[in-house]
Amino acid sequence: MMWGAREHHRFEAAGQAFVYLVPSAAIFAVDEAADSVLRRLAERPQTHDELTAALGGDLGPTLTELVRVQAIAEVERPAPPTPRIIPLAPFPLTTMVLNVTNQCNLSCTYCYEYGEDKIVDTENGKQPKFMSEETARESVDFMLREAGDNKTAHVTFFGGETLLNFPVLKKTIEYARRRGAEAGKAVDFSLTTNATLLKPEVIEFLAEQNVGVTISIDGPREVQDKFRVFNNGAGSYEIVAPKIKELLRRHRTRPIGARVTLTSANLDVKRIYRHLTEEIGFWEVGFAPVTTAPGRTHAIGEDGYDRMLDQFRDLAQEFLEFSVANRHHGFSNVKETLEELHKGVSKAFPCGAGLGLLGVATDGDVALCHRFAGSDAHKVGTVATGIDRDAQRQFLERHHIANKTDCSVCWARPLCSGGCYHEAHTRYGDTSHANLHYCEWIRGWTEVCLKVYGELSVRNPAFLAQFDREEMGEKVS
């Protein structure tokens, strides 16, 4: 009988070998015997006798254990195809992203909503520029209806610049708290803002109402002012920095994060991180490469992804050392990936869009996520009439990982699952396309995180126990 290795990714951490099994996403530490067997079988299929001749000793128990976790199998028994299981409807809604306006007081050149790659015409399109109070109320009712048995519903306010519609935001929170209480559900609020409109009374309100805040900011002055500019081209750093400091001083009830867009001209990850945490005082910083069509000047090319990975790796190493010492480190990218690795998520879909997360446009149209809000082609209902189950089902069937042939041979697919629909739409004009331009980056980054995870599992396993806590709403960027 010939034994062959099933899909897996071997990595080393803390002087030890580990395997990340695909597609189960299980992580096992392997001893020398199991490691040797797996490495030989990864080269080519072999019989028990061949393995014994090469490695010596009684390999029976090792083989049995490797078979048991499906790290290896008889070669005549191919791995079963990916089960194409579409979640049963109605799938409970966890996070509703409310685009309270599609207008913005900044004109960031790379913006996916206003820049060259925008999907929806926010100037002359059919949507109102601001969401009305009535639509917001309808949205809240829609969310509570669709939340199913979930005890908590998350509302994320988004834009445009969210705070341009502060009056409706305020009223919506009040209404949602009341309606949530009647429905026996807690409602959690967060928002994303560019910080230009963080007036003292706004900060006071956000702190009092326990609203989670994410600030879009790119880093120190010269970095921020390169893309994050006002209509007249003036940079925004001068305006936002003092306001953010005031927010961080006053709003202590929830950790406040920065969300950085990386571009070809802005890849100094470590310097940005230092500035935002040490000089500004953010609790955590998350980085995301800009979403663009290929060929744009700010698009990140292949060498850019390499540079980004080197810096992410350094910062992840720092995260590791801090975490071993039980100190907080604010590099949120690594933390999010560690959480997924710890749970062993193996995704049929890259994110919750169209499933547990939906975006609502200013007119109450429901889209896959906030990035598609207002786009008729990506509409899955309205807040008044509910989710269009047929459209939702068609979307899920078309975007299942089992359809992504490119991904079927990639060991990083349990986490990546093809990547962002919006990124794919912008890059390839097709939401169901795998994001092939950043495969190397994803695999590189997953490898970095696996190593950090392996190190932590040996050097400070208690740190990982924090990920056993309750599920949170999905992050939005």
């Binding site: 996403a25 299980a26 992580i27 199991a34 199998a73 062993g344 599992s457």
Partner: protein, 111 residues
């Protein structure tokens, strides 16, 4: 497991889900296998040729009727009818050391 140590939650779940203890059928198999056990000829699956042969009798079955002793009676929750091995027929399987070879030696019991 001694050669593999589960590290993340999924690995722990896989280890628990594949625990071999008390799985009599699995113990009778040779070589490792992780295919879920489905009793052959089980009434839960469509398996023509098991309950009756093509003439309606039991002489030409695809599987000997003794098959259910080791599949339905031992491995499955389905109650196959077997002698009372505690009181009445303690030595009923005495001559059957290895089921694969010796199943013919299990005899009928007459009260």
């Amino acid at each position: 497991m001694t050669h593999l140590k589960p590290v993340n939650r999924k690995a722990v779940r896989i280890e628990e889900a594949t625990k071999p203890e008390n799985d009599v059928v699995a113990l009778q198999r040779t070589g490792p296998s992780l295919v879920p056990h489905f009793p052959i000829g089980c009434s839960l699956v469509f398996s023509p040729g098991w309950e009756a042969d093509r003439t309606g009798g039991t002489a030409g079955l695809c599987q000997p009727v003794e098959r259910d002793l080791f599949d339905c009676h031992i491995g499955c929750y389905w109650p196959a009818q077997v002698p009372d091995q505690l009181n009445h027929a303690p030595d009923w399987t005495a001559k059957c050391a290895a089921a694969q070879k010796d199943w013919r030696k299990i005899d009928l019991i007459f009260p």
